[in-house]
């Protein structure tokens, strides 16, 4: 790397920050803390299908849009294929080519080419140098460099070429991106190591299949002269290009909880000391059929009426099925869908990887700007590709919402084990502000439903269990009824109530009986005292007589 030092003799005088060239790729510049090292070489090592060509092309395209001309050399695809692929992302490459802002160079070696003896890549360098001068190019991508090296007859020849290329690039003054695909051939390993050492920045892109779901991850392996985010980041190839999702900011920019909002159920407002907090994360946990969706829908209807906007992310039911189901409980969501206050995204979790789900949700959130977001249900998220994928999805989604002060309602379908960890769902409990636990209570001959607030950050709340009914008119929460040191529900409650009523009647009867007795005794007393008086009067008369 001696050449680097001669080109940058002053590099040690400002070691804190080297100059950077932004990629303008969503999320990537954050991970790279500003972009690729300016006028230096970055190596992207990615397996087939990882999207390294897309990244390279986007780097050139977005650069050209920002007025920095770029050259793209392709060894694998033809420029025609690249233009077509770019068009699917909505990138108009020919328009920028016409303005001399992009130059695509076809470096593919045709199969009919006859190879006879050793050769050098200098032909390419001459083309690049000439074109660079002509269009004042500042960016260059050499895509699938490893392909051309397959035509070289010895690893030593490859190494020589790489050294020559490296020295040449270092002196050209362009921000360079080389993409290579890791090879399985043993003789290639030697120069792959060199690839990594020649880059000032090395990014690894990886496509993998976890539990039958395809996911993509990228990681910065090294970045000379700069700090960078060191974790593995999910990224996706979306309809507008590459999108990486750094999560480094988790928990740092969350907005404080806002005012209390009515839940739409009077008794529940009382239990929660005023309702849900705006911008908080509320989890409804319960077994199937406990009425979680109805509980949330009650709020949706109430909030929409007040003018709030709600995004409903559903993994379990279709929009129509859900609207129909809650209508049986007297909740009518249709008008709110029609006037655009309520929007549904429904997808099977298996339909795509977690990052794809996240990106779709985020795009919708940024466009639709909801007041509240509902996720139904987080228990379905592991089907996106495992527990880790679900965790990453929810963590990022919660983070995205919390940073924007959006209230999040999570529904968690419990399998029945009912441990606290399961209730709070997927180890995201630290992000959750309120947990409403809804469960069945088995009683002889019947099953009743009760709810309990397990946690409610920054607010007082009832610590008791409350029985509730799902009626044709929504959810009804009943007054607390307790006996023998426990709460009573259903028939037991009715029995207890009747028992108490009978007891009261009995007491009342007893009282009236006693009153009567008292009356009788009083009358007797009166009679006796009268008789005594009379007798004394008589006796007095006898004495006098």
């Amino acid at each position: 790397m001696a050449t680097k030092n001669t080109k940058y003799p002053n590099v040690k005088s400002y070691p804190a920050e080297i100059k950077k060239t932004p990629t303008f790729i969503h999320g990537l510049d954050e991970i790279l803390r500003g972009g690729l090292p300016k006028n230096r070489t970055t190596v992207i090592n990615g397996s087939a299908g990882s999207g390294k060509t897309v990244l390279g092309l986007e780097f050139i395209y977005r650069g050209a849009q920002a007025g920095e001309p770029g050259i793209f050399v392709c060894f694998e695809e033809t420029p025609e294929q690249l233009r077509e692929n770019a068009a699917t992302f909505g990138w108009d490459i020919p328009a920028l080519e016409a303005k001399n802002l992009i130059f695509l160079y076809d470096g593919t070696i045709k199969p009919e080419v006859i190879i006879s003896g050793s050769f050098s890549l200098k032909g390419l360098l001459a083309v690049i140098a000439g074109k660079k001068q002509e269009m004042n190019a500042m960016r260059i991508v050499i895509d699938a460099l490893d392909v051309v090296f397959r035509f070289f007859d010895s690893p030593a020849a490859v190494r020589n070429e790489l050294h020559m290329l490296n020295d040449w690039l270092a002196n050209e003054g362009m921000t360079t991106l080389l993409t290579v695909r890791p090879s399985k051939r043993p003789e290639a390993i030697a120069y792959e190591e060199f690839f990594e050492s020649m880059g000032d920045c090395v990014i690894k892109m990886d496509i993998r299949v976890v539990e039958q779901i395809t996911t993509r991850r990228l990681r910065v392996i090294k970045y000379r002269g700069s700090d960078y985010e060191r974790n593995e980041y999910p990224y996706a190839i979306t309809s507008t290009g590459l999108l990486a999702t750094p999560i480094s900011t988790v928990g740092l920019k969350h907005k404080p909880l806002g005012r209390k909002m009515s839940t739409g159920i009077k008794e529940l407002d009382k239990i929660l000391h005023g309702g849900y907090s705006k911008g908080s994360c509320i989890l409804f946990a319960g077994e199937p059929g406990t009425g979680k969706t109805i509980m949330v829908s009650t709020f949706i209807e109430h909030a929409c009426r007040k003018g709030d906007r709600i995004l409903y992310i559903g993994f379990e039911e279709s929009e129509d099925a859900l609207v129909n189901n809650v209508s049986n409980a007297g909740i009518n969501l249709k008008p709110h869908i029609n006037d655009g206050k309520l929007f549904f995204i429904t997808n099977y979790p298996e339909a795509m990887g977690a990052e794809e789900h996240f990106i779709r949700a985020v795009k919708k959130i940024d466009m639709f700007k909801p007041t509240h977001v509902v996720v139904d249900a987080i228990s379905a998220c592991p089907r996106m590709g495992g527990k880790l994928a679900a965790f990453e999805y929810l963590m990022r989604l919660l983070n995205h919402c919390k940073e924007r002060g959006i209230t999040i309602f999570l529904i968690n379908q419990l399998s029945g084990s009912g441990t606290y960890l399961e209730i709070s769902g997927n180890s995201i409990s630290s992000m959750i502000d309120t947990v409403i636990y809804m469960k069945y209570v088995m009683c002889p001959g019947e099953t009743n439903r009760v709810l309990q607030i397990l946690k409610s950050r920054g607010s007082g709340h009832s610590n008791q269990k409350h029985e509730y009914l799902i009626t044709d008119n929504g959810i009804k929460i009943l007054e607390i009824c307790s006996g023998k040191g426990e709460m009573l529900t259903g028939t037991a409650r009715i029995e207890k109530e009747e028992e108490e009523k009978a007891e009261a009647e009995k007491l009342e009867y007893e009282i009236s009986r006693m009153e009567l007795e008292l009356k009788r005794l009083k009358q007797i007393q009166n009679r006796i005292s009268r008789e005594t008086k009379l007798r004394m009067l008589k006796r007095g008369g006898e004495y006098q007589a």
Partner: protein, 110 residues
């Protein structure tokens, strides 16, 4: 760096269409390029009895022609005539290969 060599002895050679037309792309003093140029010239003198045209292009001096012909590596020899275009990369150490490609019938002289 264009070099046209025609075999004398035929009638007005400049009017005669060359039977063989070559373009050799080289890169300055790059060793493989120099070897290729030397070997190719020797080859032509030795085997081609009919008029031929050999154009030598230094990519560092004429990158536009290189772009036109999609040159990536040097030396690259493009055989435009006879028959359809053929491309050979490398320094062309083996004459036999070229003889075969050009379809020459060579009676090796002692």
């Amino acid at each position: 760096m264009n070099a046209r060599k025609k075999i004398p002895g035929k009638k007005k050679s400049s009017d005669v269409e060359a039977k063989f037309r070559f373009i050799l792309f080289v890169a300055g003093n790059e060793p493989n390029s120099q070897t290729a140029e030397y070997l190719l010239r020797n080859f032509c003198n030795k085997y081609l009895k009919e008029p031929y045209e050999l154009k030598i292009i230094d990519v560092f001096k004429d990158y536009k022609s290189a772009i036109e012909k999609r040159i990536t590596v040097v030396p690259t020899l493009i055989i435009e005539e006879p028959s359809s275009e053929k491309i050979i990369v490398g320094k062309i150490e083996k004459e036999d290969k070229l003889i075969e490609i050009l379809g020459l019938r060579v009676i090796r002289s002692r």
